[in-house]
């Protein structure tokens, strides 16, 4: 029988260990690396939000940049135009922007298309958002919005100063750890089980009495909201919202993270985002070569480790256990779920 409590504790532990590792990172790394680590932390949750759709409900989104950019630009506009609004208000508005974009586009796209047509529609919508941003003066056109301040959170009795990059970095990793664990909990709740069921057999799910399309839309909105939250959190860190974050290449990033880390595992995109960040850093001096490196690596992973890095490592572990006869024999599917 599945031990749900053990599974919950194990995944809470993963979130906490990840948080601790990111927290001690500034002690051993310079500020440039810490900045990259902050972006990686944001990318982890960005990747997880995408995989909620792909491995969760079974939808392929090629336009996640529109949510990320939506949240980022909402945050940037709020910070510059409404400086009196509390920081949490900006985050909330940013996340809601993604949710609303997802609701409108998802409603249209899910009525009209499925499978690869759905993916192409999300790409088209995302390009539309990109073009709107680059043509809107209010959003800074091709220059983007710059000079976005980092906040001081006023709690009444005390205030938390996040104006330094390091302080804001700590805010990011705590926020991302909380969202990541919340997302894990959601995907393992009754609603998460239902979403899994829809991916595995939508017809069966419908004939259990579920309105499949409205649940697909719910997952789409949730995914868009979280991706937008990531964008909103990122903006004060980088202090700029530029149109590049709405470009289609940003939409490919969570896909890369997921394929690198392993789509069949909740934490796969997290592993992939860290790996991607490390490769990006290692190849930064090879100007123009980093895309080739990433492309080659992805090709290698897809051909040699179709389950991603995490899938590969876990299957090795299971195989080793079988050979030595030590430990509990875990069927592969259960071992995957346990992580």
């Amino acid at each position: 029988m599945i031990d749900y409590r053990r599974r919950m504790r194990a995944n809470l532990a993963i979130a906490v260990i990840g948080l601790v590792l990111f927290a001690v990172f500034p002690l051993v790394a310079n500020s440039g690396l810490v900045f990259l680590a902050g972006l990686v932390a944001v990318n982890i949750v960005f990747g997880l939000s995408w995989n909620l759709l792909f491995s969760g409900v079974g939808l392929l989104s090629f336009g996640h940049a529109m949510f990320f950019a939506g949240g980022a630009y909402a945050m940037a506009v709020v910070s510059l135009r409404l400086p009196d609004l509390p920081f949490a208000g900006g985050l909330l508005l940013g996340a809601m922007t993604g949710g609303i974009i997802a609701l409108v586009f998802g409603y249209i796209a899910l009525r009209r298309a499925s499978g690869v047509y759905f993916a192409v529609l999300t790409l088209a919508f995302s390009e539309l958002v990109h073009i709107v941003i680059t043509k809107t003066t209010f959003l800074g056109r091709n220059d983007g919005l710059v000079g976005i301040p980092r906040p001081v959170i006023n709690l009444g009795v005390a205030s938390i100063d996040l104006t330094s990059a390091l302080a804001y970095y700590y805010f990011i990793i705590v926020a991302m750890a909380v969202v990541a664990f919340a997302l894990w909990s959601f995907q393992n709740s009754p609603a998460g089980r239902l979403i899994q069921a829809i991916r595995q057999d939508p017809v069966r799910t419908a004939f259990l009495g579920t309105d499949v399309r409205s649940w697909q839309l719910t997952a789409f909105v949730l995914s868009g909201t979280i991706a937008a939250f990531c964008g909103a959190v990122m903006v004060p860190f980088a202090q700029i919202a530029s149109p590049e974050i709405a470009y289609w290449t940003v939409s490919t990033e969570p896909i890369l993270f997921t394929l690198l880390g392993g789509a069949g595992h909740f934490w796969g995109p997290a592993v992939g985002a860290i790996l991607f960040g490390a490769i990006d850093y290692a190849t930064r001096a090879l100007y123009g070569l980093s895309e080739i490196t990433v492309g080659m690596l992805l090709l290698g992973v897809v051909l040699l480790m179709p389950g991603g890095l995490l899938g590969f490592l876990l299957s090795r572990r299971t195989a080793a256990r079988r050979l030595t006869g030590s430990g509990k024999r875990v069927p592969m599917a259960n071992a995957e779920k346990a992580t």
Binding site: R7, M8, F207, G209
Partner: protein, 252 residues
Amino acid sequence: MTRMMEARGIHKSYGPVRVLEDVDFDLEAGEAHVVIGPNGAGKTTLFRCLSGESRIDGGTITLAGEDITGLAGWQRVKRGIGRSFQVARIFPDMSAFENLIVAIETRERVDKGLKSTFGLVAPRAAVRGEAEDLVVELGLEGRLDEPASTLSHGDKKRLELAMSLALKPKLLMLDEPTAGMSQSDRAEAVRLIAQVREKYGLTLLLTEHDMEVVFGLATRLTVLHHGAIIASGEPHKVRADARVREVYLGQH
């Protein structure tokens, strides 16, 4: 008897092919109604139209007096129809136990709304208890933690039946419940279906090829031929019907 389902003037075409032509079909509460007919007679199409998997081109369908013609499959399930498929549809990557959990939680969502959806990670004790009861009832013990895709053909059918029962339907529709089974598995399946029908007071609607299964279960028999009903009534009378013998039973 009260009427469970009533279909009037059902038309269904796939492109130029008319599969069902002006079919009237009644289902009384409590009966075990089996639809038979040669391959291509339109049994599965009728089944799909009644369950809501396919839209009909003409006609009306009512369930316990309510017009359900325009309702999608999932809405009909909410009104008390459970169904299985010719090739069992289960969630392949989940364990058999989780398949049942999903079915029970879905029914709870229908009954109690969203508040049963955003629970904690573990299924509630009542849900697990109910799943365990179904496991025992349908003899699925011992293979609960395996991914459902690794179950045997018969066990997949059994699991699907358990999932349908978890919905507590008034009407259970089984599309060829013994297709692809061995002779001994067939007898076991008939016994199981008869048992759950008795226990839950179900109305049954089945399509079936195997005559032993048909006469083992049916309280009423309907024969479909070229998309039209040629006979309907008590099994032994239908069996004696000259036209039925000619087009269908005569082949055996």
